[in-house]
Amino acid sequence: MYKLFLPLVCLLFPLAMQAQTVVAGKVTDARKKPLAGVNISLVGSYDGATSAKDGSFSFTTSEKGERLITATLAGFASIEVKADLSSSAPLLLVLKETVNELKMVTISAGSFEASDEKKNTVLKPLDIVTTAGANADIVSALKTLPGAQQVGEKEGLFVRGGTGYETQTFIDGMLVRNPFTSGMPDFAARGRFSPFLFKGTTFSSGGYSAQYGQGLSSALVLESIDLPERSSYTMGIGSVGPSVGIDKLSKDKKKGYGFEMDYTNLWPYFKIMKQKQEPVVAPEYLNASGNYRIKTSKNGMLKIFVMGTAGRFGFKGESLEYPGSKEEFRLNNQFVYTNVSWKESLGNGWKIQLGTSYSTNRDRITMDTLGKQPEPTRIKTRQDLSQFRAVLSKNLGKFSVLRLGSEYQYGTEASKFNHFEADFVDSYTASFAEADVYITPRFVGRLGSRYEYSSLLRSPNIAPRASLAYKLNAKSQVALAYGEFYQKPEPQYLRFDRNLGYMRATHYIASYQHISQFRVFRTEVFYKQYRDLIKTVPSYSNNGKGYAKGAELFWRDKKLIKNADYWISYSWLDTKRDHLNFPYEVQPDFAAEHTATLVYKHFIPDWMLNLGATYTFATGRPYYNPNRPQSEFMTDRTRNLNTLGINVNYLTTVGKAFTVFVFTMSNVIGNEQQYGWRYSSDKMRRSMVGPMAPRFFFLGMFMSFGIDRRQEMIDRQ
């Protein structure tokens, strides 16, 4: 009976039998900083405690002897220690921080990234759409960032002393030929691709990865969206035309398709708002695109995107050559773009990405000085580009990654100038190898090299790239970048001379950035050396050269003013080059010495109103005045540029649709914007290069009908 009684007593009255022991101690991180909120637990029991602000903890237990104690805290590696409970010595526990995305250093020199998925980015995709004065055009929005010039007479991004041609656009890794709408000489055209198509946008103002090539200055890397969050229909009507769209997500959320169509006609707008030139063919564009996306496995995704555009316009303006006469310019354009990409995880840390893309662009241009020339000038051009790309990547260790890739591009250029034809074909192959090597989580080096061969230039090149970044503390890091960049000369020169070689640029960049929850500060200095630029005078050659150097600042603050977000960019640029018909190295006409932008966004929650303003300043740019002697080549400067663009968005519901009313206006103050001057061949007359009208405004309404369960749920109430 005793035998039975004793254990029973032990079980039923454990407290009576066992004395309480106090376990106390302190938890710190590796640098002896106390850690609060750590869960200290005696394994197998409920006993334990949470550490206080000073890292101290204490609890009582009835357990005895040597036991396991665990300490866990989010963001730190859990530890398990053996402790003798009978010892009264305080327990000293040290937790090591685990590395996550936020704590890791990232390659940052030269690049501005907008992404929802990644943290620590300077911009969000939404910022591109909501920047005043940009009218939801990707390139216009990126012009508010340091490094980009305010060039209004040509399309493209003019980056750090480079021309628009020196910036290449990539969608899902593949080069895009003709990323801009075909426009008129001296008037910048919009980009063809809507910012809503992309989940990630990276604007590199230099020193970019060996994955991309053929851009001397800059790369605009766009990453298409995956599956939509939910199905929806959209409808829009604006002062320039209507748009419709469907985005459907399957019930199992594994595939989705979308279709979008918009029609733009500027005729009614131009009837009301007088333009510098008179439209003779209503500017109209029809745009249609479709996409299909399917998850092929847990990590696999196939994306198909097809887009077609047809557009035409015609303008009549004063002739510079023949005073009193009119000059006409008419253009017809068709553009088709397709992009198919597939990515999959092969296991063992290997990933594959395959892509193919085809695009064709046709322009028919008629230029006529009415009543002067016997026959109008007719130009027909066609550019086709087919390409394949394969990239293999392998995770090395915990954070490092190796990328190997190859691409092939087959491009044809056909042009007919009245009866004179000049066609050419280029087969371009490139391979690259690149490794992001994390020496420690705070210190990363990216080393890469790219090999390219163009059948047209009949020559290869090897372009090494290197980037280093070091994280100083949780919020700030420094980075360095170097790279060699090669680019084929522009088609208009290759058409006439097949003996030209690659143009070349070397970049050196140093940057510092500090990113906290509400603020971003970034500064960069750079030096870029140009070699083998194209000269057209005295004859076609690669004898051009130049340099660009400068300093840039970026500051973004979401805290200072409640419900407001603003950023300031400043760029100082010192660049000179000798190319084309330049007699010697001078500051080119597309480069301004000082550029600054202020972007301000204000949200009024009570009225669901978004107000935005973008102010842009740039010092005057050089222009060519033929009346000056050669020693004063390009010494004239245009007036400083000052513009203010605004936008107002009002969010509401109309019936069951989420609706947004949009009003935007460019150059509200109506300042004259001088982009440059053109002279007649007898040097007697000149005309200013500037926008078609001092201001442009847009009024529109966009409705979105969600067709997911959330919507049904709301409707049913």
Binding site: L8, A74, E229, P605, T652, T653, R710
Partner: protein, 212 residues
């Protein structure tokens, strides 16, 4: 023979004792959730840790994981520095998944997961609103299908509607209607045990009082 009987008895007592100990500890900790003084980030974190210790010691009980996650999601809502929210919500999600693994599909757990989704919106409402708002609504629909009598489904649906701007599909009046439905369900609701989830009635009344 006697001794076998004795050990069988001993085993039964031991099990009952452990069960009592679990019930008692849980009851005491769950009781803390009724006190307003618990609702500050530090206390919620400490309470979550306690639940997690019970969960780890028991290993087969889903409720301690449920409460550990519930405390954390409340901590996430009360955390001022929104950069700190994601790690807290991540941990809450992890604990909730453990509860799901033990319990299986459950209306209360769907409600909890929906709350975790909502907690992530505050980090960046403009870009996250659509994604996590949709996720939260879907989870609540699931919770409703799993148990249409669960008052917390209507409380959370009503709360979501109240705090979503009208332009994004919110509605104060529809939210209030749902809160009233929740109140009715609360009066009819009988928790499975004295440690089963039963929170929300007082909060529903408070929400209704704030938005007359």
């Amino acid at each position: 023979m006697k001794s076998i009987l004795a050990y069988l008895l001993l085993f039964a007592v031991a099990t009952a004792n452990a069960q009592d100990r679990y019930q008692a500890a849980m009851k005491q900790q769950v009781g803390l959730l009724d006190s307003a003084s618990t609702f500050n980030p530090a206390s919620l974190n400490a309470l979550s840790n306690t639940f997690e210790r019970i969960a780890n010691a028991e290993q087969t009980q889903w409720l301690p994981y449920y409460y550990a996650a519930y405390c954390l999601v409340n901590e996430a809502f009360m955390t001022q520095d929104k950069t700190k929210v994601d790690p807290i919500s991540d941990k809450a999600a992890l604990l909730a998944e453990k509860a799901v693994a033990l319990k299986g599909a459950d209306s209360e757990l769907s409600c909890l997961l929906s709350l975790i989704a909502v907690s992530r919106i505050a980090v960046d409402p403009m870009t996250r609103g659509a994604r996590f708002g949709t996720e939260s609504a879907e989870l609540l629909e699931k919770a409703k299908a799993q148990n249409p009598e669960n008052p917390r489904v209507y409380l959370l649906q009503g709360q979501n509607l109240m705090f979503t701007p009208e332009a994004f599909g919110g509605s104060k009046s529809k939210g209030k209607e749902l809160l009233n439905v929740a109140l009715q369900k609360f009066t009819a609701f009988k928790p499975d045990s004295d440690i089963a989830p039963r929170w929300g009635e007082a909060y529903t009344k408070e929400l209704l009082k704030m938005n007359p």
